[in-house]
């Protein structure tokens, strides 16, 4: 059945269908409806819902609940995610699964509450202290947000790692038609590490402290191996009209949807352009971009973002200097228009 839902609420509903038992959050625009939806549903269904005293409180409650083997979610927006970074580092260090939703707003500082992609670097490069990685999924529609949220819980459990859904204010606030798979059954994962308090077995401890340098190094190498596996197995990317493309646009999230419309318009005008949309921002689809960079007919790349080029570094690393990359971005909560993208393309062709 197709229903009309606001992005934030659709993500919340998807999480519940994926078996999310606990939600800890703190109101911040433009993600607050997610928290409100969880309050309404979880308080009635016997789940755990707490509106925490702060984002710091929320992420650490999530840490405690995840330690007990529950499916756990927390959500926020830029400034709140900054506060959660300490907890995210601990979750990663203790190898605890948790789904974290970041409905981005404009930054830095208090910025504003408009649609922006200002947290790409914070999300993909760590954010907190230490050598760790968070799986980052970037939906470009409410329907995709639903699907990726469900997948996020499975990935978090599979790899015992935090997974972030990275959307922007537009995704959180817009209403779109979504469809839920009524036959979907959440995965049940054994968690032999979970702290349950039972006394008739060996004790269990969730912890990220390795005071002996050799042990911490061993732990970090082990995490690195895990991240390598994630890179090998979990990259998701949409390649749109790229087979014969001479110019490759790269864009993610809602911004990529605008670029897709621009690609359609340019194609109608006979321009051979295509779009590569990373769906996983970490792991980044390096190999896919590398492939296009090696193609003779590809002239150059255009990176379009709702920031000042935070993904650009990853695009550059993937293209390895083989082709030129141009960047166009709007920041401060301004969304680029289709026409702006088209005009930028023509300005480069001159």
């Amino acid at each position: 059945m197709k229903i009309l839902m606001k992005g934030n609420e659709a993500i919340a509903e998807a999480a519940l269908r994926a078996g999310c038992e606990c939600f800890f959050g703190y109101p911040i625009t433009p993600q607050t409806e997610l928290l409100q939806y969880m309050a309404k549903k979880l308080l009635k269904s016997g789940g755990v819902f707490i509106q925490a005293e702060s984002e710091v409180g929320a992420i650490n409650m999530a840490y405690g609940a995840s330690s007990c083997g529950k499916r756990v979610m927390t959500s926020s927006s830029g400034p709140g995610i900054s506060l959660k970074q300490e907890g995210i580092s601990y979750l990663a260090g203790a190898q605890l699964p948790c789904v974290i939703v970041n409905i981005m707003r404009g930054g830095p500082g208090l910025g504003n509450i408009n649609a922006a992609q200002s947290d790409y670097l914070q999300a993909t490069k760590g954010g907190g202290h230490g050598d760790y990685k968070v799986i980052v999924l970037a939906p470009s529609s409410v329907q995709e947000a639903v699907e990726l949220t469900m997948k996020a819980f499975d990935l978090a459990d599979k790899y015992r790692n935090p997974v972030m859904i990275l959307g922007d204010g537009m995704l959180g606030q817009m209403m779109e038609v979504v469809e839920f798979d009524e036959n979907y059954q959440p995965q049940k994962v054994e968690k032999p590490w979970a702290v349950t308090g039972d006394r008739n077995r060996e004790k269990r401890v969730t912890n990220s402290l390795y005071i002996v340098p050799e042990e911490l190094e061993k732990h970090n190498f082990m995490l690195m191996e895990k991240y390598k596996k994630i890179k090998e197995n979990e990259v998701m990317v949409e390649e749109y009209l790229t087979d014969d493309a001479r110019v490759i646009f790269v864009s993610f999230g809602m911004c990529a949807r605008i670029v897709k419309s621009a690609v359609n318009r340019l194609r109608q005008a006979g321009e051979k352009v295509g779009l590569v949309r990373p769906i996983t921002l970490w792991p980044f689809p390096e190999n896919e971009l590398k492939r296009y960079a090696s193609k003779e007919e590809v002239e150059f790349f255009i990176d379009i973002e709702m920031n000042l080029g935070q993904m650009l570094e990853d695009v550059k690393l993937s293209v390895e200097g083989k082709k030129e990359i141009h960047f166009y971005g709007r920041t401060g909560g301004i969304v680029p228009t289709i026409q702006e993208v088209v005009d930028f393309y023509y300005s480069l062709k001159k």
Binding site: E21, C22, F24, V48, I50, A52, E53, S54, V56, G57, A58, N60, M61, A62, Y63, G64, A65, S66, S67, C68, K70, V72, E86, G87, Y90, A94, V195, T196, G197, D198, R199, K203, R204, V205, T206, N207, S208, L209
Partner: protein, 246 residues
């Protein structure tokens, strides 16, 4: 009666400095658990600070939290496993400085777990800096001329702050400077756990403890300092026991 090691303590040798109060307080918790909760589910929440390795000394499950966040982590734990006995174990820097917000709100929500708050008046693990609980006049490495309330403000009295909160069921401040008070501390832990298991709300025991290393005193002298100096600023007793009308 044979005096022996409590069953829920592991055989691990503790890392604490000679004469430190943590060993006594660990033992008291272990005795209460052995006596009253032999078969119960138990989950401890470990702090950052001197007691960071507490999970090595007990043979039940632990969640090791970030600095100051133990009461938030314990909230998540207890809400998920409501039939477990859950306690956080935190020093004064942990619970009364960086974790003030978390403890006040866990208490306000009436979270059904017990916080065991060990107050030795210094940040001991990092080398004896001033804590929020450092008493006026006390010399530490970061209040080298003695804590002057006009400069560094006053010491925090967390128990007194928590008493008026509706979610709080049990508040006691105890000490371990002599046998009588060690016994009293055990009784308070016993009662706090009982209050928790009766689902009455948040319970906290502040235990006045010593830090011979950072106070620069021999262990016996450090116990005397609690009696002669610390008790002037921190009164001991049961401040609140909702179930018993206190």
């Amino acid at each position: 009666m044979v005096f022996k090691r409590p069953e829920c303590l592991t055989k691990e040798s503790m890392h604490y400095c000679p004469g430190c109060g943590h060993g006594i307080i660990h033992r008291l918790i272990a005795e209460v658990i052995d006596e009253d909760y032999k078969e119960s589910k138990i989950i401890g929440v470990a702090p950052v600070g001197c007691a960071v390795f507490i999970y090595d000394y007990f043979n039940f499950d632990f969640v090791a939290a970030a600095h100051g966040r133990a009461t938030a982590a314990a909230t998540g734990v207890k809400r998920c496993i409501p039939d477990a006995l859950v306690f956080s174990y935190q020093g004064d820097g942990d619970i009364a400085a960086i974790g003030t917000s978390e403890v006040i709100h866990a208490a306000t929500r009436g979270e059904n777990f017990t916080a065991i708050f060990v107050n030795n008046g210094v940040y001991a693990m990092t080398g004896g800096q001033m804590a929020p609980t450092t008493i006026p006049g006390q010399v530490t490495v970061s209040s080298p001329y003695g804590r002057d309330p006009k400069v560094q403000g006053y010491h925090i009295k967390l128990c007194e702050m928590l008493v008026p909160l509706d979610g709080v069921a049990f508040v006691a401040r105890t000490s371990i400077h002599n046998l009588k008070n060690i016994e009293f501390t055990k009784k308070a832990i016993k009662r706090a756990f009982e209050v928790q298991m009766n689902n009455e709300g948040f319970s906290i025991i502040e235990v006045l403890s010593n830090c011979p290393t950072n106070w620069g005193l021999p262990p016996c002298e450090s116990m005397k300092r609690i009696e002669n100096e610390v008790l002037k600023y921190y009164s001991i007793g049961i401040f609140k026991d909702k179930g018993r009308g206190i």
